[in-house]
């Protein structure tokens, strides 16, 4: 079928209501960028799940970074996205404003140059991300160990997808299909989602990030739902294989082990995170036990929004107290956040 025919089909779809969730921040952003939502029938609803690594970081993690940034002789090194995420009291940007030492970089490897130039100074890299970003931190650790660098530690908030998807399905999120994360799948392989599809009788479509690729994936999901044959279909074969990337798996297993971790607004999810193994604890700046998750504003509904139980517009703060310039919840901070994208569009 030509792409126009698929768009027509999705525009005129009149079957039972279909609720599809994307669990990748880059998909959330791409759907907004390509204006996909207004191509679809009102019967097809797209929900943004917990796919933005910044958005699911609990306040305790931000608070810990703030604390470290204010310590003598210590600099927190981070990606730009994290600077504005609210902690329980303040963001890293606010800490920086009152003397906290925070350095923004584009790649985790940039911290190596900083550490080498200032050997007496300590650096903590804020290692946030999913299966996609985690491998880069293993390269950083390789480099730290090989070169015997003693002034870099990492503070991890690494998360893995299957636990979160199970949690959504087990906790009453009304979802009929998942747009499986494209970048994560490139690392894990499409088969990563087979058990979930079988257990919850729910289809997964692995998708790329172009407009056409997203339309094809959404069409694939709607057809699987209509035909009552949930499965995992890989529509991103140019990048994603069915099997996992074994080199990356080996790297991850070398340094990290699964752990129960807290997702912002959702609570602790079993085996949904990665923490450094005990033998590498000297490189850890205190990542374990960062479980406190205190909303800055009690009315914030980020948790329900991440689970597809509420839409951004349902939150009383949305667009009023909470905007991209003064975010109350993490979903409003990142370009990948569901509230940010709802606000922008």
């Amino acid at each position: 079928m030509e792409i126009e025919q698929l768009v027509d089909y999705l525009k005129n779809y009149s079957g039972p209501k279909v609720r599809l969730m994307e669990v990748c921040g880059s998909h959330t952003h791409a759907i907004a960028k390509h204006g996909i939502r207004n191509l679809l029938s009102p019967q097809i609803e797209l929900l943004s799940g917990p796919g933005c690594p910044v958005c699911v970081t609990p306040t305790a993690y931000i608070d810990k970074l703030v604390e470290l940034s204010l310590e003598d002789n210590t600099t927190v090194v981070t990606f730009g996205d994290l600077l504005r995420v609210p902690g329980s009291k303040e963001s890293l940007n606010e800490a920086k404003g009152r003397g906290g030492s925070v350095e923004m970089v584009y790649s985790p490897m940039d911290v190596l140059g900083l550490a080498k130039a200032n050997p007496e100074h300590s650096y903590v890299f804020a290692a946030v991300g999913f299966e996609t970003t985690a491998p880069v931190y293993t390269l950083l650790l390789d480099n730290i160990i090989e070169n015997n660098i003693s002034n870099i530690k990492i503070l991890t908030a690494l998360k893995t997808m299957p636990g979160a998807i199970s949690f959504l399905c087990d906790n009453g999120a009304l979802i009929d299909g998942f747009i499986a994360p494209g970048h994560v799948s490139a690392v894990t392989g499409a088969n990563y989602f087979n058990d979930l599809a079988a257990k919850y009788h729910i289809p997964f479509a692995v998708s790329g990030f172009g407009a056409k690729e997203l339309v094809i994936a959404i069409y694939g999901l709607v057809k699987m739902i209509e035909e009552g044959q949930p499965a995992v279909k890989n529509f991103y074969t140019s990048v994603v294989e069915n099997d996992k990337n074994k080199i990356i798996e080996k790297q991850l297993n070398k340094y990290f082990e699964p752990a129960d971790v807290v997702w912002r607004g959702m609570g602790s999810i079993k085996s949904s995170g990665l923490l450094l193994k005990a033998e590498y604890s000297k490189y850890d700046a205190g990542s374990a036990g960062l479980n406190e998750d205190n909303k800055r504003n009690k009315a914030c509904r980020c948790g329900e929004i991440l689970m597809g139980k509420a839409k951004p517009a349902d939150c009383p703060l949305f667009g009023k107290v909470c905007t991209p310039m003064s975010p109350e919840g993490a979903c409003m901070v990142s370009e990948e956040g569901s509230c940010f994208n709802a606000f922008i569009c």
């Binding site: 960028k33 204006g35 191509l39 584009y106 996609t132 407009a211 370009e335």
Partner: protein, 333 residues
């Protein structure tokens, strides 16, 4: 001397040598050479004035440097009101440690760009501060507005056509590439735009609005103009000119060319009957070969569309665009 030292800011002998050997050598003209406390220049027309400060790192980058940028930025701001730029002042704040050879190249680049833009540097100042070889340049400029020219942000009218003078995001992509040590052949587009503006005016195109596309990128500029006019701006994604290499660079880093800054591009909003001619004129200018019509101005159908900027995507969807939020940083996944 190889590097700038604190004594170069003393006001004494070292300062004099610096001015003589570097600034006078490049900027020399009848007004500046009088070495008075203030420049006195002729002119009795309506004047446009502006000022801008430049803090870019690295100081030199493919396609330009902080000196060229500092002239283009001020010249272009004057042009956007339809003024003919005439006089520029420049203030240098040099950190100790600036390489003299670097400073010479930057000052020469300023002199060359000023010549290209038809402006005279009539006053200047230099200070030296502690630091690590960095440099800040401030330029201010004065231009004269021809009779009958009335170009301002709120002037867009129903059915006007929106034109952009060339590829989006080149400067921003260049600077990011340099900072991130990414090798590519992307070059900054920093350039003075007085040629295309004066040719539009000379050819009696009744230009309603001009804006240079700088920080915040095209989307930010158009959204501000839509709000200023109280109208709705519709643009077509497929018509936006973007260099394929910049497009790929943005894709890799999760950036959007719509929000990437330029330093040598403008948006012109003109009545529809003049749009084809205006594009031809811009394309005929040195920095306008990729100019294109990208959208139209529309009277909103209801209040919710007042000040809206809507882009039709290639697949037929619609995307409402807002001004840049945050800092335009690469995303992390």
């Amino acid at each position: 001397m190889e590097k700038i030292l604190m004594e170069h800011g003393s006001g004494g002998r070292a300062t004099n040598e610096l001015i003589k050997e570097i600034f006078e050598a490049q900027f020399d003209n009848d007004v500046l050479s009088q070495m008075e406390d203030a420049a006195v220049v002729p002119g009795n027309e309506t004047i446009a004035m502006t000022t801008d400060s430049f803090v870019v790192t690295p100081l030199e980058f493919p396609g330009g440097d902080i000196g060229r940028l500092s002239i283009c930025g001020t010249v272009n701001d004057l042009c956007m009101r339809g003024a003919v730029p005439k006089y520029i002042t420049c203030g240098f704040i040099l950190e100790e440690g600036v390489e003299i050879e670097t400073l010479k190249r930057i000052v020469k680049s300023m002199a060359d760009t000023a010549k290209e833009a038809g402006v005279t540097i009539v006053a200047g100042d230099t200070k030296v501060i502690q630091g690590n070889g960095g440099m800040i340049i401030n330029t201010s400029g004065v231009g004269f507005i021809p009779n009958g020219v009335d170009i301002k942000a709120s002037n867009a009218r129903d059915e006007d056509v929106i034109i952009v003078s060339g590829n989006l995001g080149d400067h921003h992509a260049t600077i990011l590439s340099q900072r991130m040590n990414i090798t590519n052949s992307i070059k900054s587009d920093n350039a003075p735009l007085q040629e295309m503006v004066s040719k539009l005016i000379e050819n009696e195109i009744p230009v309603h609005v001009l804006r240079d596309v700088t920080r915040g990128g095209l989307a930010t500029v158009l959204k501000e103009l839509a709000v200023a006019s109280g109208l709705k701006f519709d643009i077509l994604h497929e018509n936006l000119p973007v260099d394929p290499q910049v497009e790929s660079f943005c894709g890799l880093l999760g950036l959007d060319p719509l929000y990437m800054g330029n330093e040598g591009k403008l948006v012109a909003i003109v009545p529809k009957d003049y749009a084809v001619q205006a594009v031809e004129i811009i394309r005929g200018c040195k920095y306008g070969e990729n100019a294109d019509m990208i959208g139209t101005v529309i009277q909103p159908e209801d209040d919710s569309e007042i000040g809206a900027l809507v882009m039709k995507t290639e697949i037929g969807g619609h995307r409402f665009l807002d001004i840049l939020q945050g800092e335009g940083l690469p995303r992390i996944c």
